[in-house]
Subunit: 493 residues, 2 copies
């Protein structure tokens, strides 16, 4: 087919106009289902734009389900009636240009409940999509790069796992998770995170929220200290489980120990390797102070190590668990960031002090991850695929990270850049005291979505923020550059 | 290879001697890994036993991982060192001849925590295998027939699901479960169970235990009434979540409403379609009484419909949920029995009275089932595979069920047979007042494992039992016949 797109809207960038035009053609049925669209090169040539511009539009249309890519064949228009049923899914998909106008809790939930989330939860159900093109770049801190998910390997492993010889995989498994997978997790943690543990200490579960529910039955619902700002999804879980949450302010090293000591908290939930959202990496001194606090009163530290795989400067920092001599640290790990949120596999490493209590109180709970999925992941880990995947993703993310920092150079005089040592997002703090809300508004005017730090705060009095969060994991280099350019302009006015 | 098995042990049946001999040959390395064993026919001929006798031994060796079956090629000796790592798995596999000497809680846990369990949990972790041949027939009430699991279909669907076009399946999904799957569940429930509901009321989760955890956050931990005897795994969950459990005695129609009214319970957990373990099918009158009890006080009934798919006599009985006019029934369904325990998919259907509270209190919890698994199951349901599978399994189970009842004829003068209308197990009550413990002991002497009803009781004073439970789902017709013959002899002494 031939496509001629009139670039009438001078204010909107080319990608957006191409995206909007094709989306409407499909919605109106003017492009029939199963019609093959022009190749990105062909369309780019005929429109006189860059091929990556067309690619970006196509990617978004795929992400929203309007186009279906077929390997080696190209892009095809999807069936609309199917799309209608997909209403919800669209909302949950990563999509650089998708956003919605909701503010307050909804926006907050989105900002926290998406792919970023170790347990991979999404926004509230039932929210219809729409306004798909309000933002043409979305610096979502919750995305991961799925274009490089090892589908081929995953499909191969799953095919090889589903054989009659493995029929036992369809019978009940070990409540803690299959031993083979737990052994693989132990080996990974020892080599990559300096965590020495036995398979008996590992509990495999479908997402961090579920594991926190289990933990709640081990620890009881005593007051729990959280870094402020923090990972809101964990906050919601603790609250709904009846914990009283004590927000503890942070300094540049992390949770302030004085404030923690002043509280009656028996448990502290922390992210020492790369605090979310501040990106702070907790120095050894602070770690020792927190370990001491825990050791004194028979207290516990929950170490959420959600994205430690991605670190770009300095030597990798071992997990806090590794330096705990008193069995006070509970390690929470996940494959949501390192593989994909939707494989739904997280794990706890219990200190020996809790092993017996776990067997007694929770030993009867069946694992929430299917044995087939556990076996696929075990092989992914054991046969070297995971390591190769991680190295590859580290490289990809580092490139995006460096691209972002380069693009941010012109803004350095007006903004302080934080949390750029690791992870998949950075923070920009206005040196001129420009308020967060204004930064978000001005960004929205030029069609760029950024996220405010204030949404991550627990204590209301700390919500006066001048900081925005930029995630880059699911953006292309071009999107990052163009997006930052647009922000530079918007914030210079 | 040639195999000559000396049948030295006159007391043990042929299967067991064949099984033991080959197992030891492999353990000792006298049969090397990857060696192809004689075909069942060849070995049967050379030993002068029936082919099914050899088959039974091979099946058990496969179940315990000593042999690996290869389609069209035969049986091969497995690698021992691999087997050592499988120590735990062996324990968790269904295996007609496997048993262990543990009594009390352990035995109780086994009797409840196995495949029978809607949430598909297993025995406690870390328990070593061994004594693999103490029982040559195990009438476990927790088994399902996995020899007829539709592997080919499952593999096909999983292969077709894992494509680049579906990459969005690896991003976060809908917290309640993907809409497509929830719609499929609604359609199934309407046609098969008389349950009318909207996808918004359905919550997909990884196992019934997880869904009961969620429910706990909806209903709070008020006193909960349970049928006595009942499904112990649910009892453990409620207890560990801090509910006070009120055991309510049963008459032939199910939970006694007078006793329920006398209690302060606000919630009642019941299995009206086929009570576990008694097999009682609750008549309409009793259902109405319970619905009235719930409607009066704004109370709730949790209807666990764990194995309603399998019913052999009379017309199918619709779910209690369908006759609830006041939004007091919470429906709990599972695919553990109807597909396989290890796919880890169960679901709740909330009454409209609880929808809003769910969104508020639990709406942020991510679904614990991976989107890939949800999509595979959706297609399994939507494309007719599930219906065909169910019809097939119904036929298979009915045959085993009829075979069991036929074999039991000679015992009818000494035993009352109960719960034979549906499900995958029946109860035998001694008319001569022979105590349960003695029945179990005598059965064990002849190498047959049966289960005592007393282990399912909550109130100690009701533990004086004369009833044993016979499950038959994972036994062959020959095992059932030979097993019952042995029991007849053992219990005649």
């Amino acid at each position: 087919m031939e496509l001629w797109i009139p670039f009438t809207d001078k204010s909107a960038p080319f990608y957006e106009q191409i995206y909007r035009f094709i989306k409407e053609e499909i919605q109106q049925g003017r492009i029939a289902a199963h019609t093959r669209l022009p190749s990105t090169r062909k369309l780019a040539d005929s429109l006189g734009v860059s091929r990556s511009t067309v690619q970006l539009a196509y990617d978004q249309l795929v992400a929203e389900g309007y186009l279906e890519p077929e390997p080696y064949r190209g892009y095809f228009a999807a069936e609309i009636d199917v799309l209608l049923n997909l209403g919800q899914r669209q909302e949950e998909r990563w999509s650089p240009m998708t956003g919605d106008g909701e503010e307050g809790l909804a926006a907050d939930t989105r900002a926290e409940n998406g792919e970023e989330d170790p347990s991979g939860s999404a926004g509230e159900p039932g929210r219809a999509s729409g306004e798909g093109a309000r933002f043409w770049v979305d610096f979502s801190p919750r995305g991961i790069d799925l274009d490089h998910f090892p589908f081929h390997t995953w499909r191969k492993l799953s095919r090889e796992t589903l054989t009659m010889a493995n029929k036992s995989l369809f019978t009940s498994g070990n409540p803690q998770g299959e031993r083979g997978l737990r052994e693989a997790v132990c080996r990974y943690l020892q080599s990559a995170r300096g965590v020495m543990c036995r398979p008996e200490q590992v509990i495999v579960g479908a997402g961090s929220e579920y594991l926190l529910m289990l933990l709640n039955q081990l620890l009881g619902s005593s007051p729990i200290a959280m870094e402020d700002p923090t990972y809101k999804q964990a906050y919601r879980v603790f609250q709904s489980l009846g914990h009283r949450v004590v927000p503890v302010p942070m300094d540049k090293s992390g949770m302030e120990v004085e404030a923690l000591r002043a509280s009656d908290a028996r448990i502290a939930y922390i992210m020492p390797s790369h605090q979310y959202p501040t990106g702070i990496v907790m120095p050894v001194g602070r770690r020792q102070e927190l370990l001491a606090w825990a050791a004194e009163g028979g207290r516990y530290l929950i170490e959420d190590d959600y994205d430690s795989e991605f670190r770009y400067r300095g030597r990798p920092i071992p997990a806090l668990y590794g330096s705990d001599r008193n069995g006070r640290v509970i390690y929470l790990g996940t494959f949501s960031k390192s593989v994909a949120p939707a494989i739904r596999v997280s794990y706890l490493v219990l200190p020996e002090t809790l092993e017996a209590r776990y067997r007694e109180n929770c030993g009867f709970y069946a694992s929430t991850v299917s044995r087939v999925d556990q076996e696929i992941l075990r092989r992914f880990l054991e046969e070297g695929y995971f390591e190769r995947h991680l190295n590859r993703m580290r490289g990809l993310y580092r490139n995006k990270h460096d691209c972002l920092l380069a693009a941010l150079e012109p803004l350095r005089d007006r903004f302080r850049i934080q949390g750029d040592m690791a992870g998949l997002h950075v923070l920009l703090e206005s040196r001129e005291g420009c308020r967060e809300a204004e930064l978000l508004e001005r960004a929205a005017v030029v069609g760029v979505r950024v996220y405010g730090l204030s949404e991550y705060f627990l204590a209301p009095d700390r919500r006066e923020s001048h900081t925005v969060i930029l995630g880059y994991a699911n953006l292309t280099a071009e999107e990052i550059q163009k997006g930052i350019q647009a922000l530079d302009g918007a914030w210079s006015k």
